[in-house]
Amino acid sequence: MAVNYFYPDYEIIRDYNRCINCRVCERQCANEAHRYLDDADKMVCDDARCVNCQRCVSVCPTRALKITETSNTFRKNANWSEKTIKEIYRQAESGGVLLSSMGNPENYPVYFDKILINASQVTSPSIDPLREPMETRVFLGAKPDRIQRGKDGRLVSNMPPHITLSMPVMFSAMSYGSVSYNTHESLARAAAELGIMYNTGEGGLHENLYKYGKNTIVQVASGRFGVHKTYLNSCAAVEIKIGQGAKPGIGGHLPGTKIVGDVSKTRMVPEGSDAISPAPHHDIYSIEDLKQLVYSIKEATAYTKPVIVKIAAVHNVSAIASGIARSGTDIIAIDGFRGGTGAAPTRIRDHVGIPIELALASVDKRLRDEGIRNKVSLIAGGSIRSSADVVKAIALGADCVYIGSAALIALGCHLCRSCHTGKCNWGIATQREDLAKRLNPDTGYKRLVNMLTAWQHEIKEMMGGMGINSIESLKGNRLMLRGVGLNEKELEILGIKHAAD
């Protein structure tokens, strides 16, 4: 039926004066958008197959290609957008749930972009990080309730298990399966070189990567894929995943086509069978159940590893966090509604959850009001895009941030948001061997190290500007932030003043 024909969103523009018919675009496009016509000795393309991942553009040796947004348009309607109409057509055809990948792209406020950072003038000096020490080391974990001394009066170390980071940034959970082995290896090696952590996600840990255990957070999610005693003890910390910002309230689904070879072995799921993690943990229907799982993990790891509980930022996130903080959990990770994913129902991704900035500010305040902020560390995730976002998140009250999308972008991701197809041309969100090998971990890890080294420099510059020479003095230091264009209620929740106030 003609109604199902859509003019493609993007058009592939080829400059035939430049094209030399080398066919690299054809070979590089897993979506098969490019084709060579023998008879005509000419490259042609099918715009409808293009996801605008920019792979062909990037590899074209003569710069003969570019992708543009189509100028074809439905009749303008401020209420019924073309996107909305097309989605109805699709669902009328398929009867299915719409799927999407990566973070919520819709036009909701980005609070980080409405917050500005302070700097010293006259009354207190700024500090030059090139000339003076500037410290970004962070500890995550509970603080001791009381100090203890030995007979000689010296302090006895009663520090609960914690993790040490060279800077307040970690790679967030991305499972082996949803991303390629090479992606995992890049993340693991970068984390080891940087002195931070990466996170296995719910897909288990490939044997080859056990050696990066000191820089690994292993995840226990509702499907319990790949969870066993060795796994729990091959890490620096264990994360219980309750929820994810991109899809709060629902579980995960890794299609059987991605469950091949080592992925199947690592996940402990038969080849070709779908790996479906349930929406809730079926042993956690309440907060007291969570406490039991926290302590089960602590027992399994002999109380040597901090336990992280990761939740999606939802409406009453602060009350939930307060409950978690009293469950024996050492670290709470909060994932905002812009957080990325390998696959999520579009409606959930785009309409469920709340912004991380507001959730973080609210949780930090709630835990302080209840006098339990030092019982847990806070990790904020859900679209941390730059070092400035890191600084703002720390000043709002986070101990550390998680980055996922930013790390993938460093590896080449162009946010085409088609991860769920498994045909990632950049070798990231795919298990197809020919595609996965495009990401060379030797270059991949270096790019991650470069990016975070640059961020660390920028964080130090911003700290120095504020006259702060150690990151702990920035934590929760909300006077260093000001809002622009925010209303009273937003400022109140963020706990910051308006610019020039």
Binding site: F139, K143, S157, M159, G371, S470, S473
Partner: protein, 358 residues
């Protein structure tokens, strides 16, 4: 919420033998640094000045009006046995105007109230101070220690000293503060020193960690009402010393922690201890420029920020120890000190009574 930013001069004098001397000495010292103040606040803390009531808590209170005084005295009478009370004697001088009513009470907690509260005596007193300052409008307790007192006002410090007739008091330790606020609430309670129980703090600087420190200490029940660095530092000292039982030296390494690069080359067990303290008390780290002089019942402590972004010198002569923002403020009262030195950034200077001093 506003933030009260200021520059300043500080000075302190302490007799290690516990010998009591007149407050004139400290006035002369702080007067030498007149240029560092702008007349918007000055004050003194004096230790050993109330030997006749040394077992009583001495409350110094500002009242804006009679009704505040009535309400506050009603509260005091229901929580304390008031041994004696009086106006604090002052000298009317043209440089000091608009003074509130300034009263002094020597008291001990009522045993029944104290027992009911299930608190130790000092915690009971602290809670009473907070209760008055936060709930009785127009009443402000600015001194609450034993055998010590704070005297402060809006004005240049040397005028404040003359106003309070400080030369008539004799103590073994005095600290002083001259203020250069860059915004001016013009309120007497906002002058320094800031004190809680026997701890008093004078401070010169502007700490960049302020809001991190404030939000942290408020979690432990302290209410920061003045929005000044000094207030927050005082509460942190009280919390770490009185409640967490850290030593003053440990507190200095929490406030002005050695850099990680320094800690890493230290021998065991110092390295482990310092790492423990930095981790356990991370939100108590103070960054940005500061020099502080802390008075306490047994001595005096001075500390600079870890980069030494504010000047501070220490001098010694016989049993006397002098600490000031500038050496001139020491030389003016002791022209031939045995030794004068400038402590390094983050180096704790803690001086207590010589052994055998009562």
């Amino acid at each position: 919420m506003f933030r009260n930013i200021s520059g300043c001069a500080i000075s302190g004098v302490f007799s290690k033998s516990g010998r009591r001397f007149s407050g004139k000495l400290i006035i002369d010292s702080i007067a030498a640094m007149h240029e560092r103040s702008n007349g918007l606040g000055g004050g003194f803390a004096a230790y050993g000045i109330y030997p006749e009531y040394k077992d009583c808590y001495a409350f110094h209170i500002f009242y804006d009006n009679e009704s505040a005084k009535e309400e506050c005295e009603k509260f005091l009478a229901s929580h304390f046995d008031i041994i004696t009370l009086s106006k604090i004697p002052v000298r009317k001088i043209p440089q000091i105007t608009d003074e509130p009513m300034i009263w002094r009470y020597f008291m001990v907690p009522l045993p029944s109230k104290l027992a009911d509260s299930q608190l130790d005596e000092r915690e009971f007193v602290v809670r009473c101070v907070f209760r008055i300052n936060s709930t009785i409008d127009g009443a402000y307790v600015f001194s609450s220690g034993k055998n010590m007192g704070v005297f402060k006002a809006v004005g240049f410090p040397e005028d404040v000293g003359r106003f309070y007739r400080l030369e008539e008091y004799e103590g073994y330790c005095f600290t002083a503060h001259g203020r250069y606020p860059t915004n001016t609430p013009g309120w007497w309670g906002g002058a320094h020193p800031f004190a809680l129980l026997d701890y008093s703090v004078v401070h010169n600087g502007e700490i960049s960690s302020y809001d991190a420190n404030r939000r942290n200490i408020e979690m432990y029940g302290y209410q920061c009402m003045l929005k000044t660095d000094t207030e927050v530092i005082t509460y942190m000292i009280d919390y770490l010393h009185r409640k967490k039982h850290l030593t003053l030296k440990e507190i200095c390494t929490v406030f002005a922690a050695p850099f990680w690069s320094t800690i890493e080359i230290m021998p065991y067990p110092e390295r482990e201890e310092l790492e423990y303290l930095r981790n356990a008390f991370e939100s108590f780290l103070i960054t940005g420029p500061f020099s502080i002089i802390v008075g306490f019942d047994k001595g005096i402590m001075a500390l600079n920020d870890r980069l030494k972004l504010r000047s501070m010198v220490v001098g010694e002569k016989d049993d006397m120890v002098y600490i000031a923002s500038e050496e001139a403020a020491i030389r003016v009262i002791e022209n031939e000190p045995d030794r004068v030195w400038s402590p390094k950034g983050g180096e704790a200077v803690i001086i207590t009574f010589e052994e055998g001093t009562e």
